[in-house]
Amino acid sequence: MAEMTLFRYLHRDTVLHRMDGRLKLGSMLLLSVSASLAGALRHYLVLFCLLCIALRVAKLPWAALLKELKFFALIIWVVLSINATTIPGDPIPNLPLPGVTVQGVITGLRFAGRLINIILICVVTTGTTPLRTLRHVIEWCLRPLPFVPEVRIATMIQLTFALIPVLFIEFAEMSRAQKARCLEVRKNPIKRMYYTVLPFLEQTLHRTDQIVEAMEARGYSEIRTKAAFKSKTSDWLIFTLCLFVFLVIVFTKRG
């Protein structure tokens, strides 16, 4: 089965892969908030450069990732177009396209910059963190909270992350199988959906059942091994750098 690289853990021996999961998640959280708060072009550029360096340091496969990010490029293009044409403002001089405003393009570009940075944060986090570590970090974070079933929540998140790419692949496979039997000939889009979406939902539920059985067969329990975390100086340095970027964006935004 062909394997997606996007949003999947890719094992390498790098400082980001070895980083303490708690500090890594903390750093990525700081960068995500920074991306949401960023307002000026320089903010987006700083974050973008930092994330590109992180991708390089993590030795993640650029070419494969860019190829798989095509879907997001389409979203960005659609949102940019909608913003550019629907937000009222001054028309762009000498542009043959009617209805496109300067304010609309700027708003669209801001959205695009934010989305690109957030996608890159997700790529770096998922590419360098095994789901098992992610689960342990979530458990660790939720443990002090009363009445919160931290193990159950962490397991649910782990299973969701593990299953999403598999379900994508299965949906594509199912669509191909239906196309091979000339589903496209049917004119009615609802009928077409009926023959792809419903079987897919049924298959997803069936698969969920099987996973639950497999987990039970190996004695799934909520009293589980707790991870032993260790943080190194390099981990704290990366965290401090992210904190610095976050503070700079917060204060320059206010200023």
Partner: protein
């Protein structure tokens, strides 16, 4: 005393379909038992009862003389079940994570989990794949990984549900060698299959299921001649003997 025993084990599904009916079977420690039968004969339902995944409508499963319902976690530790389709049972994103799932359920210390994972992967020859995604492995390696996941629980009994399905010749040989190694190491093996020609020479006992009932049980030489009437292909050709029924040369 038998290591695992079923008494009048019956499973009727909510829609009234009879999965298995009054199965009485005793398995001794160290045995290599093959359970054969046509599709829908109740083999998989039976296997799931041995691991406590299903609750019987009637009857019970005894593990070391005790009903498995007394301590299901202990039962699942002692009786490892390798599912028919390994792809559908993987919960880990990497090979190592997949094997660690069982020991983590047992709440073992992290260092011990790591050493068990390493040992289990080494046992099935998957150490060099520990950081790969289970889904990119070949069919044979996926089965080995499923076995490693079960071995990490240190089971006494290993149940393999149709372990040869969908495997090419080298894949079958790999898995068969692995099963024989596990048996030689002292594990009790229950192998569910209808492909008797691949493995029967290595088994000490052949059990046949038909329409949810246990219809034959004994030495393979004694039972094999009647298998066709229960929907299982007769593996012996003219002049062939049971000891020749193996894909290992």
């Amino acid at each position: 005393m038998s290591i695992i025993e079923t008494q009048d084990l019956t499973h009727i599904f909510p829609d009234g379909t009879v999965g298995i009916e009054q199965i009485n079977l005793k398995i001794n420690a160290g045995e290599f038992v093959i359970i054969a039968g046509a599709n829908g004969s109740g083999k998989t339902v039976f296997a799931r009862h041995l691991n406590g995944l299903l609750t019987p409508t009637k009857g019970q499963v005894l593990l070391d003389g005790q009903p498995i319902t007394k301590n299901l976690i202990e039962a699942r530790k002692k009786v490892g079940l390798v599912f028919q389709d390994p792809d559908r049972q993987f919960v880990g994103q990497t090979v190592a994570e997949e094997v660690a799932f069982g020991p983590e359920n047992l709440n073992l210390p992290p260092a011990q989990v790591d050493s068990i994972v390493k040992a289990s992967l080494a046992l099935v020859g998957l150490s060099r794949f520990s950081h790969q995604s289970p889904r990119v492995l070949s069919g044979g390696l996926k089965r080995k990984l499923a076995i490693a996941g079960v071995l990490a629980m240190k089971p006494q009994i290993i149940i393999l549900d149709e372990p040869f399905t969908g495997l090419d010749y080298p894949g079958v040989v790999q898995i068969l060698q692995q099963i024989l190694r596990l048996h030689a190491a002292g594990h009790t093996i229950l192998l569910i299959t209808h492909e008797l020609e691949k493995v029967l020479a290595h088994a000490g006992r052949l059990v046949i299921f038909y329409q949810g009932r246990l219809v034959a049980d004994g030495r393979p030489e004694a039972v094999v001649h009647g298998v066709e009437r229960y929907g299982v292909r007769m593996p012996l050709r003219k002049g062939e003997e049971v000891k020749e029924l193996s894909w290992l040369k």
